[in-house]
């Protein structure tokens, strides 16, 4: 409870982890607020169905609050004037000159604050992915502030979990992105770092994942625990194995 997990990918795509966490938390009965900035709802829905969870059913029973970034952005830009009288769009920082993600934070907070009739275990905030906010004009400081506010609200006050995906690259020229990614690394309780293999492309091993448990944050003078596995993604499943022990090799 109250944990901040960072999903970081380098030279590959770590979105399979996002799909996993989404279906994992939904199956566990948690209330999930999913800020999906990169893909459409149907994409996540189709993949979730392969993993055994129906997002539409979860939305209907109120377990899932889905913010479809692409659709919100279109509504914001091409929407009629009358629709503005309702709640302000969570993505209104795109149209404003001040890059303030407060509207987005308010959206997250209202969706995860338990209503009286809710019986879900623990709230969860899932974000895919944070780097898109930078592309849309938010400053790195605004993004970090947003995450900080979310941590206070979700992890400390509501005792929920947060899972966030960022992209990063060792020799990246995108300094703002690296700033956000590194800063979040320092604050995370658990880091799942997905990388492409250093030796190049391989059909059987799609990449490696480094699992870093930030035990050092607990002030018990212990080092972080790092585990490294390699993985291969299949249509409905991801198989993990120890380094060098891919099924193709054995």
């Amino acid at each position: 409870q109250g944990k901040f997990t960072l999903l970081r990918d380098t030279r590959t795509d770590g979105s399979f982890l996002v799909h996993h966490f989404l279906s994992f938390y939904l199956r566990a009965g948690c209330k999930v607020c999913f800020v999906a900035l990169l893909q459409s709802f149907s994409h996540y829905n189709i993949v979730a169905q392969k993993l055994g969870v129906s997002l539409t059913a979860a939305k209907e029973r109120g377990q899932l609050v889905f913010l479809e970034g692409l659709k919100s952005c279109l509504d914001l830009l091409f929407g009629e004037e009358e629709e503005q009288s309702g709640q302000p769009s969570p993505l209104q920082f795109i149209s404003e000159s001040a890059s303030n993600l407060k509207a987005l934070f308010d959206f997250v907070r209202t969706s995860l604050t338990p209503a009286g009739s809710d019986s879900w275990k623990g709230p969860v905030l899932l974000v895919d992915d944070l780097s898109v906010l930078l592309s849309l004009g938010a400053t790195p400081v605004a993004v970090l502030d947003f995450i900080h506010y979310c941590r206070v609200a979700v992890c400390s006050q509501l005792k929920g979990n947060i899972v966030v995906l960022v992209h990063s690259n060792e020799d990246s020229e995108d300094e703002e992105n690296e700033l956000v990614a590194n800063s979040l690394c320092h604050h995370s309780d658990l880091i799942l770092w997905v990388e492409g293999l250093a030796t190049g492309f391989c059909k059987d091993v799609h990449g490696q994942i480094k699992i870093i448990k930030r035990v050092s944050l607990e002030l018990t003078a212990e080092q972080d625990v790092v585990q490294i596995y390699q993985y291969k993604i299949q249509d409905k499943n991801v198989t993990f194995f120890a380094r060098g022990l891919s099924a193709a090799v054995l």
Partner: protein, 342 residues
Amino acid sequence: LVFTEEDIYGLYSNLLFKYFLAEGVVCGHDLFVASAKEHPDNILKELPAPLLGDTYRNELGEEATAVKPEDFQDSMKIAWRYQNLPKMEASPTTSTKFGHYYDVSKTMSPELFQSIKWHSFYLPEELSSQPKMKTCNMNSAYARLLQSIQRIIYQEGFDGSDPQKKQKNILRIGIQSLGSMLWGDDICSSDTPEDIHSLTKFLYVLRGLLRKSLSACIITVPAHLIQNKAIMERVTNLSDMVVGLESFIGSERETNPLYKDYHGLVHVHQIPRLNSLICDVSDTKDLAFRLKRKLFTIERLHLPPDLSDTVSRASKQDLAESAKLLSSGCGAMAIGKKHLDF
């Protein structure tokens, strides 16, 4: 959203652009062409003529899919186009029946245009009108283009907003040379551009429009001119498929014996992973293209056979150096599962 990085002189990316549009015409899709430098009418006149019947079998020693999208506004179903690429088998019998083949030496006849509807966006003509949407700090040319696309999608019912329309069609969108100075964006000319978010915001909104409607889009961008590489990284993140064309014209690779059969390289930086956990990866990542008299082909790059006995040691070493370059290039590119390997 297919994102193409132009080669330096823009010759081959124009070719790909025209192919994309031509395929749209032949398939009966609607087209939307946008350009800032060439009038879409002219672009449409230059589309390659399709090769029908068996004539193309004779033309092909290997399969080739030349895609020349020019300014058609087509939707984003781009991914399958590239899956269409031939498998580099020597025998032409393994040609896939996907798509059509085109003859680049002839232009498409106007009768083929009669059956389709096409829309155009030529920036110098559009500048006189006022944008009605909120520009949200985006470059006004981009804002106008987005508004135009959105209007067409809405009016023609590509987003399903008109239930009366029985026949669903696909809109193919082609945008030429986005990000260049002609669009009013200075990312190609300065290191610290005034507004680095315009292009990425544009792409995000375009992605939203494409996801919401039955459309596919190809964009060509003079990536070699963009000074700020962070923008290219963000753009790659926001696109479904990213392909770069590097032509050998004027570069040292032109005389390299490794590349003597080809006119340039194709770098596939990203392939789409839509609606599934994995994407379709294929075997090799080295692709090169060549422009024959009538066809534009993309093939696997392979070393020419070293047949000559009189090859001197120096040039043999040259070849070995290039081969090493190739494999290291392969290694550097072949990282992660986003890279497409044909």
